[in-house]
Symmetry: C2
Subunit: 455 residues, 2 copies
């Protein structure tokens, strides 16, 4: 992650092979260190001179990315060792995921790495993406990735690329680091967690894994990491049929899911239910502080969605806050009717008189100022009116210690969500997804509190 000089072994004039897209993306991504393309049969590529071997490079090489046919990998590693390269990313596929022969080759690679003292990511990986360093070893164009506080670790290569593109193109969080583990001949999920737990730029860790190399070590490291920052996990292959598919994908062995589930719960680790849930949950953690407790204020411009949000809050272990008299008095200034200042707050019809922006701003400010409220959920549909995102952003900024989550739908929703996202307010289409994400934050906050009480 901190490499200043990178060799890319296996660049080619054929862009269908991985080496050259990696080189192109590295340059596009704005890597500030030195880049050395390697191929014995080329003189130059993309304006850079090409060396025949890493051994021909004059300066030091911190990292080698290997993207050559699998059978050539052992000899290339030997050359890397002779060049005293201490870190490699093996992008090449065709190892343990393909069967017995590949498994043997991967074992040979493992032995070379060990005796040479080289740390390796992969094989069968797109490697790492680190926006703050302009470092991207991926074959996928990730120029749109924003820098942020989320680390995303995935076992799968291509999937990482696609999901990172999804993140880059949504009103979602930015990334501190993305790591694709692949077949894990050396570096595994536990190593990644250990690194990220101490990484200053990482405040939230999202994890997709298919197999666990060492269960005891993993739970130990994950627990340690989770005590510092939230770890949110999706495990592929929960079911026997899914585990079978994982075996041929990344050579991952099945785990007893019930045992894993119990261990994760004990370590306070959030297990997301698929990728939609993973993205929604990470967004909440990345953008907002943890709630002090479970008492939620709901402000909505449609009664119906307020009711659904209440149902989801209750089902997911949250509470509907009771307002203090001062809050009720402040709400009454705009709501005018006693029947309208209950929680959930339905800003209609007050919004007809005062405008949505004013009523949302006043009521959000009032409930966030109430010491009996830990979190506010704002639900609104936007379209054909003059409601401005600032009416949510401003009161949220005045109360930075309390999380605010938003559900926005309607004809102008996507622009509205984008603006909220830029202001680091999680904006979902559907309110129930905001509630579920909040319930996970509350759970994590309660877990952290239980750790403090143990001290």
């Amino acid at each position: 992650m901190r490499s200043r000089s990178v060799a890319i072994i296996g660049v080619s004039s054929n862009f269908k092979k991985a080496g050259s897209p990696i080189l192109k993306n590295m340059l596009d991504f704005g890597f500030k260190g030195k880049v050395y393309p390697i191929n014995p049969r080329l003189n130059s590529i993309m304006g850079l001179p090409v060396h025949a071997s890493v051994k021909d490079i004059e300066g030091q090489v911190d990292l080698a990315i290997i993207s050559t046919p699998p059978k050539t990998v052992p000899s290339i590693l030997t050359e890397c060792s002779e060049k005293k390269i201490k870190a490699v990313i093996i992008n090449s596929e065709g190892f343990a995921e393909t069967g017995e022969e590949g498994r043997k080759l991967q074992q040979e690679v493992a032995n070379i790495l060990k005796s040479a003292g080289i740390r390796a990511l992969g094989p069968n990986t797109i490697g790492v993406v680190c926006p703050s360093k302009g470092l991207s070893t991926s074959t996928v164009d990730l120029r749109q990735i924003k820098e942020g506080n989320v680390a995303f670790v995935t076992q799968s290569g291509l999937f990482a690329g696609g999901m990172l593109q999804h993140i880059a193109n949504s009103e979602l969080f930015g990334l501190s680091t993305a790591v694709s583990l692949g077949n894990k001949v050396d570096i595994d999920e536990s190593d990644a967690l250990e690194f990220l737990a101490d990484d200053d730029k990482t405040e939230v860790i999202g994890l997709y894994i298919e197999g666990i190399k060492d269960g005891r070590k993993f739970i130990h490291t994950a627990k340690m990491a989770n005590a510092k920052k939230p770890v949110i996990l999706v495990k592929g292959g929960r079911t026997p049929r899914g585990a079978q598919a994982a075996l041929s994908h990344t050579a991952s062995l099945a785990t007893d899911d019930k045992i894993l589930d119990a261990a994760l719960k004990q370590a306070g680790i959030i297990r997301a239910n698929g990728f939609c849930d993973l993205m929604d949950t990470i967004t909440a953690f990345a953008f907002q502080p943890l709630p002090k407790s479970r008492r939620v204020a709901i402000i909505t411009n449609t009664g119906a969605y307020g009711i659904i949000a209440v149902d989801f809050c209750i089902s997911y272990g949250l509470e509907i806050a009771n307002f203090k008299p001062e809050t009720t008095a402040r709400l009454l200034e705009v709501m005018e009717e006693n029947s309208k200042v209950r929680n959930p707050i339905d800003i209609y019809p007050a919004a007809v008189k005062h405008g949505r922006s004013k009523v949302f701003e006043t009521s959000l400010d009032a409930v966030l100022g109430d010491e009996g409220v830990d979190t506010a959920i704002v639900i609104t549909w936007v379209g054909g009116d003059n409601m401005v995102p600032e009416c949510i952003i401003a009161p949220a900024r005045r109360h930075p210690e309390k999380p605010v989550l938003v559900s926005v739908y309607g004809s102008s929703a996507s622009e509205f969500r984008r603006i909220l996202g830029e202001a680091r307010i999680p904006a979902y289409t559907f309110a129930e997804l905001a509630v579920i994400a909040l319930s996970r934050m509350y759970k994590y906050a309660a877990y952290k509190k239980s750790l403090e009480n143990l001290r």
Copy 2:
């Protein structure tokens, strides 16, 4: 719904009052019948002459929309009765949802309606939207609503408006009819279901209700409707705290949720878990045929999401299909390796050689032609490649009897989803949502089959 002449009572030069937005939307929506604005203190509005009372209109009036202060509604209804108007939509609020006084007023309205033989929707409703007739009685601008095969019934007024805007602005289904029930002084959910069960243009019914006026009648009607076409329901106020909120929203009384749940299950009615689930499920039913049975083929360009999809299939009662030898042989033509023709099919790395479009098209066509496959789920991320939606659309069209559902993410996903939506292929961002929607289709298909076996 079939009205050819509509009076709008309560138009005003003040656009904050509901009457005039209703008139404007009616004209914008392209209503082809006659429209009569009513207000005793105006001469003309939006180029139309204004009458002082419905009694001053010369021709017949099929429907009156009443948008005046609540206390004036009884006398207006009397005038409607004298004009022999048989249908009214009471847009006005301030009835049973506001407390004792409003409840009395609503009872007075009920009595007048009964003795005059007028059928009424509302009060506290935005009424109906019927794209094929250009009829919209809503205060919300709904010009972008597409005509389609889905009827959407909701109890809430504003919510209907917002959710309809969401539908109009997504790659979602079109509408045959939308009905907002409001306080249900006369027409209720059972009446709406009875009408829609026999409506030729409606093939799927989505329902959001907060209360049920007559439980026995509702279950009876919903069961009858559901035997003809799928009824998908979200009930607000499942929890006691949610039910309390529903009381002050649409004066809905609490229902014992466990009893309701059991009755719905017996009637084979799908209960969606919130609005995200409702929209996803309706989209699948609206666009695709029912699966014959539960055997799913999964084709993906990332192994990871194939594994997650398998896990969700198993968890939601679906099966992973086994391919026939002829299918395997066809798949081998592009996949080339025996290890790659298992289900889920990971088109990588075959896609590197042949291009994604070709491999997706060939493999989707192969699995849909397999009699052991009932449904195909295609998962792909798109961005930076030349994959065309046609590679999914074409094979799906060649096998119109089998449902195809798609998950698309990545940098070009939204345009890709839009094109699939136009071709009536449900396109979700996240594969697990496609699986859940499919599981509901399978459940409904199994219920229909059980009904046939009873005959």
